[in-house]
């Protein structure tokens, strides 16, 4: 379980906090979405939850970050990386720049941990398989498409075998094809019962994979609940959260005086499907 307890974070030199009294719980198989307009605090929540703030990105933290019930305030970053992994928007800046092949890039994290060669190989192959990119293993990572690079970045995180994955707008800087590639992969990871916190502007993906959503505005959690409820609520749109396609379709259907029942079922399908897959796997 990853828990933020009433977290307020102010970056060094900033006059006001980027997030205020944010609380969230990410259990072992939870997929939680963070939505909100730009500057609403999504990235800051991700940085605090990963431990990078305040360790790497300096600032003042109030509240607590708990991982599996332990307050990790005193732990250095390298002790957190096997428990929480974070993926950023820009795929190119996540490449180490020192790996000649995708395989080495995915193995970079386990190599840093000083694991045995056998363990590194096992983890790298497992992560490549999980993202279905084993065929890219011998390619030069710097010559991949943006979507492929982002998959390599996520595979690099999986190779660290973290209990929780944090994805900070992983499709934001990708073209539509790349975004679809990454969204499909994230959908599969969510379906496998991994614990994921995902900040995302593309609410279609959130509606599809998350079973809980938090809406942020000006650093505060304004709304929280199931995607079908939160994302179809007109108040979320007023908070700057774009409607998922299905919600927009439902609104148009209702405005046209037609039956919205079938659309409602589509809205609930993602969370239900994930829930049923977990039940089957349990």
């Amino acid at each position: 379980m990853l828990t933020l307890e009433s977290v307020t974070y102010r970056y060094a030199g900033a006059s006001r906090p980027a997030i205020r009294e944010v609380s969230l719980r990410l259990a072992a198989t939870d997929v939680v979405g963070l939505c909100g307009p730009s500057e609403s605090g999504k990235t800051t929540v991700c940085l605090v939850a990963s431990g990078l703030a305040p360790r790497t990105i300096r600032g003042a933290l109030e509240g607590r970050l708990l991982i599996d019930g332990e307050d990790v305030a005193g732990r250095p970053m390298h002790q957190l990386v096997s428990r929480v992994g974070i993926c950023f928007q820009n795929p190119t800046t996540q490449l180490s720049g020192v790996s000649a092949t995708v395989y080495e890039e995915v193995a970079f994290g386990p190599m840093n941990l000083g694991l045995s060669r056998g363990e590194i190989v096992a983890r790298a192959e497992e992560a490549l398989e999980a993202l279905r990119i084993s065929d890219l293993a011998r390619r030069d990572p710097s010559r991949l498409s943006g979507g492929q690079m982002q998959l390599v970045a996520i595979a690099g995180l999986l190779a660290m075998r973290p209990a929780h994955l944090i994805l900070d707008e992983p499709t934001a800087e990708l073209d539509p094809a790349g975004a679809r590639l990454v969204a499909d992969a994230i959908g599969r990871l969510a379906g496998e019962g991994r614990s994921i916190l995902i900040a995302e502007q593309r609410t279609d993906l959130v509606a599809r994979i998350c079973h809980r959503v938090l809406v942020l505005r000006e650093g505060r959690v304004e709304r929280e609940g199931r995607p079908a409820e939160v994302l179809s609520d007109p108040r979320s749109r007023d908070l700057g959260v774009p409607e998922p396609s299905a919600v927009r379709l439902r609104r148009r259907v209702v405005e046209a005086g037609l039956d919205a029942g079938p659309v409602d079922r589509v809205l609930d399908r993602g969370a239900t499907a994930i829930g049923s897959r977990r039940s089957a796997g349990a």
């Binding site: 970053m77 820009n90 020192v98 790996s99 080495e104 386990p110 190599m111 941990l113």
Partner: protein, 217 residues
Amino acid sequence: MLVLVAVVVPAVLAGILPRLVRTSLLVSLPIAVSAVIVNVFFFPGGRDVILQLGPIAATREGLDFAVQILARIAAISGAITLFYLTTRPADLVVDLERRGISGRAAFVANASVQTVPRMVELAASIVAAQRARGLDTEGSLGRRLRGIVPIVGPVILGSIADVEERTMALEARGFTRPGRRTLLWAPPDRPAEWVARWLLVLALPLLVGARAAGWLG
């Protein structure tokens, strides 16, 4: 001259001489131009005037010194460019680590090699974006200079943001963990490379000694 030969011969053997000349010129041209202007026109103690331009004069002594400086700039930029064009970053980092250099030091060495091409790439994408918004980067010198201003800021800020993100990504993958990393492979060290390396190491004290004795001018 010796260094230039040491750069040109390997570049010819590696088939990268045109790229080496192009990249080396690109990197060293601004400093070379300013070095020539300063030395030709403002060389202290220059007496033999070869060109008078109003209150300032170009001197032969200054020109001689400028040629020496140019040779040194060409040698340094050529050697660095040769290294950059012939060494894979992964090979450099792994080999340094294999020889006991810390992972961080090896990474910094690699990052410094990669900084220039990254900034060039970033600048190219920003120039393209600014042109798409109607920025004029062609035409007269005045227009070009005005066009630089909206490009320099984003390049510098983008580079800073880039470094911050790279740092976070490395931290998130355990790069700051104390202790040795596990290396999966070592770059091949062929006999010819081994011999060349040791010849260079032996040549270093000989050249320093020859220079100190005045045999190299």
